[in-house]
């Protein structure tokens, strides 16, 4: 490894080029204009000292090594100062450290030539891809073909001999380029259209006609090239898509389901691959069927015979009756009867039992019923005066508790229920479980029991009901549900409390001991725990006011919210018509639904087929407004049309469109209201982008109202430039227009109509691209003059500068973290914060925004928004930590959390210790990577921490954890707890 940067030199405009000689004699790098850096290999493959060679061509478009040359030879595609494009070849003379004129050159190529493809032996030479022609060139041959105008973005070689190539263009069309040849001499070129893919950034022919299309503008794809075309004439079949959120140009944080949990809606992708992506945390239930049913007290599914793979019956219990639903022949759920069951009372528990039997527990008895004839076979009655309070069962066992603290254990035989053991406990029993987690899937050797009064959970052995473990839970909240379960081979006891807290313990199944107690808060209401399986893996559903799925990944328990408001009961219902479904009781309704894949983040794509650049949500009209553009391709000319579109926030369908003028671009959109007007409006800012102007000198602010699902233009105001940003500000509208910040009042005309009227403004920016406000303060992110702070003075009706950061940062996004701290992102992939210095002694000090934090993110941030993807519970510690979400060009969504100082210091120490344990691949230093780094300076990161690195603590093995724990002088358990808390921020 090493550093190949040079102290002087102008970084190339067209990106860095790194290439390797096909005969492995050297690596070539084009990093700075006019320089070609060579890293030679010796014959053992060792890298030797690198050196620069002067390259006369300053505007280089592409460089490749040629095949089959005795000396390493490069071919350079460049543009001269008259904008003509040529190729030239050079031999690299390693000994002289210089170029020697190469074997051939070719002048005056296609004006859009931008890509070179070196052809391997035996043909050798190079293919030059232009926008209107493709040329094959070598020392002794020159062949050209015209093509339909297109910009080729990527190529992939199909055959080892280089006779066929796949070409991907800017509209996502995939072509096959064929070099025809005879006796190793190129005779011509042919090109064929194969079909359409995502706009390709990379194309890799894998094998057997399978091709990977890597895309930075849309989802990447695995495609198959068929030998025969389909009905639409396409040879391309898309088999798999791989989610890519990039480039995220804008996004908004909304709570569409109104559950108090944020979802991010991004403007993703570019051109025809543009889409909206709804990113949310948690698991979705996809409703299949639902009926209105009030007052459900419990639900269980039952099979009609022991070896039936599907459930037939759904037992639904109410306060004074039990109803049985079953699937009929038309796959409809209809009411039926199980004669042997008692249906005039509430059912406490039901289960399938061995020998084609069903068990029903009511407050007075346990009934054993034949599952095919549905007749009662046996009944066990509770003693008079001791009604059954809680009960549980599995295929061969029943455990129940009656009043007076009696615990009764029964076993199920063929037509018989046998009372095996009775135990007298000192207090009443609140919950029970005998879910078999041992080797026998029909029989449990342990029973978990939750107690009133002493608030404990106990483990008993079965069948003798001996107490093995007693675990006081602490506090005054009784356990409401206990569950024995196994995740990834590890046994756990879960215990849910009446206040929405959940405790989990590691359970030693041979000794019955409980260890490693952990407590999390899932909701505020009592929780009911049930297991279910999805994709052959067992998970636990915690029904409460915040329904949650508990699952395990990498032997860690994870909690994921379910996108339902309140669930009182859940049971798995795997019927032939609704396989792998869940029956869910919520808000007077019984729903059958399937569950999403069990994972933390869910992404829904809404492909729009056009490039979306801005988005905002309006709660009142339940709509989104977007700014988008569509490429119109005609044979003569490509043009763009820009739109403001209105979308329904549930269906995401376009419901109204406003088309902008020719050359008019939409730059900003905002939902806001004005003082003295109860309506809510959408305001859009535009710019007229004329080909002859460097900067727009004209734009518009458009004010729309949503009426009957339509965008109605209410007012418009011409501006003297591009309206880069719009903000609601003190009941008025604040716009960033070219170099100016401008405030508009919403005035009532005499005829009752409204208009925007300019009130005051502030000059002094290069381009005021990003604006955020808080109270009377305005924070401006400038194109190249970092962040400045303005204040609006009501009495004077004026906006004045209060302070600025004098660094020359080129901004890409700004946000206000709190009254004094402002966050910025700049174009060298760095983040920084500046602090308002109100207590400064002099005007000069007060006028300076002091840099507080600096950090290299390695991502180009396009937008910050306040908000969170996770449910914030007011009672939890993490609920108090403010967070900002960011979206980047690469499609990264990240969270920046403002930590309390004490926590920051602790985690900083943890981070520096983790750096010693987790080593960068290839010896790259984490500290160096995170250093703030732009053309002017490199300084260590400060006041920022790398959450990904800190969270990787949880993935370390125990000995490495111990190592960190020792260095920190904090127990591993405490470290795990604090890092886990952090993971709940996102």
């Amino acid at each position: 490894m090493g550093d190949v940067s040079d102290r002087i030199g102008r970084p190339t405009d067209n990106g860095q080029i790194g290439i390797i000689d096909p005969d492995c004699r050297l690596i070539g790098l084009h990093l700075y204009d006019g320089l070609f850096k060579v890293i030679p290999f010796d014959n053992k493959g060792q890298l030797k000292e690198a050196f620069n060679i002067r390259l006369e061509e300053l505007q280089v478009l592409d460089i490749k090594f040629l095949y089959g040359c005795s000396k390493p030879t490069i071919v350079v595609l460049y543009q001269d100062n008259k904008d003509a494009r040529h190729v030239k070849t050079y031999e690299v003379a390693l000994k002289d450290k210089d170029f020697v004129e190469g074997p051939w050159s070719q002048n005056n190529l296609d004006n859009g030539a931008n890509l070179l493809i070196p052809v391997p032996p035996p043909l050798c030479g190079v293919i030059i891809i232009g926008e209107e022609t493709i040329v094959y060139c070598s020392a002794n041959a020159f062949k050209a073909i015209p093509i339909r105008p297109s910009i080729t973005r990527a190529y992939g070689r199909v055959d080892a001999d280089g006779s066929r190539y796949l070409l991907g263009d800017h509209t996502g069309l995939l072509h096959l380029l064929v070099i025809t040849h005879e006796k190793e001499r190129v005779t011509g070129l042919k090109i064929e259209l194969l079909g359409e893919t995502s706009i390709a950034s990379t194309i890799s022919y894998l094998d057997n006609a399978f091709v990977y299309i890597g895309s930075s503008y849309g989802d990447s794809q695995l495609v198959k090239l068929n030998l025969q075309p389909d009905a639409k004439g396409s040879y391309v079949e898309v088999l798999e898509r791989y989610v890519n959120l990039g480039p995220i140009v804008d996004f908004c944080v909304v709570d569409l389901e109104r559950q108090g949990q944020g979802q991010v809606v991004t403007c993703s992708g570019a051109y025809k691959d543009g889409s909206l992506r709804i990113v949310r945390n948690g698991i979705g239930i996809n409703e299949q069927a639902s009926v209105e049913l009030q007052g459900i007290k419990g639900m269980w599914s039952l099979r009609s015979s022991t070896d039936d793979p599907f459930d037939t019956f759904l037992v639904v219990s109410f306060i004074s009756e039990t109803r049985i639903l079953a699937m009929n022949i038309e796959d409809e759920l209809e009411e039926t009867e199980i004669e042997g069951f008692c249906s005039q009372v509430q059912t406490l528990f039901c289960h399938d039992a061995v020998f084609n039997q069903l068990v029903q527990v009511t407050s007075s008895s346990v009934r054993l019923v034949n599952s095919t004839s549905r007749e009662l076979r046996n009944e066990w009655n509770a003693r008079p005066g001791y009604s059954i309070n809680v009960a549980t069962a599995n295929a061969t066992q029943v455990l129940l508790a009656t009043g007076g603290g009696h615990l009764v254990y029964l076993e199920i035989g063929d037509g018989v229920l046998t009372e095996v053991k009775l135990a007298q406990l000192e207090y009443e029993i609140s919950c029970l479980d005998i879910n078999p987690i041992g080797e026998n899937s029909n029989y449990s050797q342990l029973a978990a029991v939750g107690m009133w009064t002493d608030i404990s959970v106990r483990i008993f052995s079965l069948p003798d009901l001996n107490l093995i473990t007693k675990e006081p839970l602490g506090g005054e909240i009784i356990p409401r549900s206990v569950l024995l379960c196994v995740f990834e081979g590890i046994s756990y006891l879960l215990c849910a409390l009446g206040d929405g807290h959940l405790l989990n313990f590691l359970l030693n199944t041979s000794t019955g001991e409980l260890a490693d107690r952990k407590k999390v808060s899932l909701g505020t209401q009592p929780i009911t725990l049930r297991t279910f399986s999805s994709k052959n893996t067992t998970h636990v559903f915690a029904a409460s006011d915040r329904p949650t799925v508990i699952y395990s990944s990498n032997k860690k328990l994870l909690y994921s919210n379910v996108n339902l408001k309140e669930v009182s009961h859940m049971c798995p219902f795997n019927s032939a018509a609704f396989p792998d479904s869940l029956a869910i009781a919520k808000e007077g309704e019984l729903t059958i639904g399937t569950i999403d894949d069990i994972q933390k983040l869910h992404i829904r794509s809404i492909p729009l087929g056009e490039h979306v650049r801005r988005i905002c949500h309006q709660e009142q009209s339940r709509t989104f407004a977007i700014c988008s553009l569509k490429l119109n391709q005609s044979s003569t000319e490509d043009s763009e049309t820009h739109y403001i579109r209105l979308l329904d926030d549930q269906t995401f369908e376009f419901i109204s469109t406003y088309q902008l003028d020719t050359f008019e671009y939409a730059c900003s959109i905002l939902s806001c209201s004005f003082s003295d007007d109860s309506n809510v409006y959408y305001c859009a800012g535009t710019a007229y982008v004329l080909p002859e102007e460097n900067e727009p000198t004209k734009g518009r602010i458009l004010v729309f109202i949503v009426e009957d699902g339509k965008l109605q233009l209410i007012a418009e105001k011409e501006t003297k430039g591009s309206v880069y940003s719009l903000n609601a500000f003190n009941g008025k509208l604040l716009a960033g227009i070219n170099q100016k910040i401008q405030l508009y009042k919403w005035m009532l005309r005499e005829d009752g109509t409204r208009e925007l009227q300019s009130e005051c403004g502030h000059h002094g920016h290069i381009l005021a691209l990003y604006v955020q406000t808080r109270g009377d303060f305005i924070v401006v992110g400038d194109l190249m003059k970092s962040i400045s702070l303005l204040i609006y003075k009501h009495e004077e009706g004026a906006i004045e500068e209060r302070a600025r950061d004098y660094n020359a940062n080129w901004m890409s996004a700004v946000e206000i973290l709190d009254d004094d701290i402002y966050l910025g992102a700049e174009n060298n992939f760095n983040l920084f914060t500046v602090r308002k210095n109100s207590e400064g002694a002099t005007d000069e000090e007060r006028g300076r925004l002091e840099v507080a934090g600096e950090y290299h993110l390695g991502e180009f941030v396009n937008r910050f928004r306040h908000g969170s993807l996770v449910m914030r519970l007011p009672d939890s510690d993490v609920g108090q930590i403010p967070t900002v979400i960011f979206g980047t060009v690469n499609g990264v969504i990240g969270v920046i959390a403002s930590l309390p100082h004490e926590q920051y210091l602790f985690l900083e120490k943890l981070q520096s210790n983790l750096r010693k344990v987790i080593k960068g691949v290839g010896g790259l230093s984490h500290e160096q990577w995170r250093s703030f780094n732009n053309e002017k300076k490199v300084v260590d990161a400060r006041n920022f921490l790398d959450g990904d690195l800190i969270e990787s603590f949880l993935d370390l093995n125990r000995s490495k954890m111990d190592e960190v724990s020792k260095a920190m002088n904090v127990t591993v358990e405490e470290l795990c707890k604090r890092v886990e808390e952090l993971t709940r921020l996102h």
């Binding site: 620069n52 210089d98 030998l227 080593k919 691949v921």
Partner: protein, 97 residues
């Protein structure tokens, strides 16, 4: 069987033969686990540090030219080296004058 384009190359016929395409309308999201090396095996060998020749290209060029000059024989040496300043020999002709 051929087509307009000829057959697609195959390196191993088993590759992708078991592929069951998922529903292309619901993209798959694979979240690969992040690799955290806690060992030093990926560190580069200590003798493999790439450095760049710090010499300026122009200076390098001048030195190279100078070296070339030094190496190049200035003039073809005479076949028989005759001492320039040796004992002077009387010219044969002079004796004849």
């Amino acid at each position: 069987m051929g087509s307009l384009f000829g057959d697609w190359p195959s390196f191993d016929p088993h590759n992708f033969s078991q592929l069951r395409p998922s529903d292309p309308s619901s993209p798959s999201r694979m979240t690969p686990a992040t690799y955290h090396p806690t060992h030093s095996r990926t560190l580069p060998p200590p003798d493999q540090v790439i450095t760049t020749d710090a010499k300026n290209i122009l200076l390098r060029h001048i030195y190279q030219r100078a070296e070339e000059k030094d190496l190049r024989p200035k003039r073809a040496a005479p076949e028989h080296l005759v001492p320039e300043h040796g004992c002077k020999q009387p010219r044969a002709s002079s004796s004849s004058c």
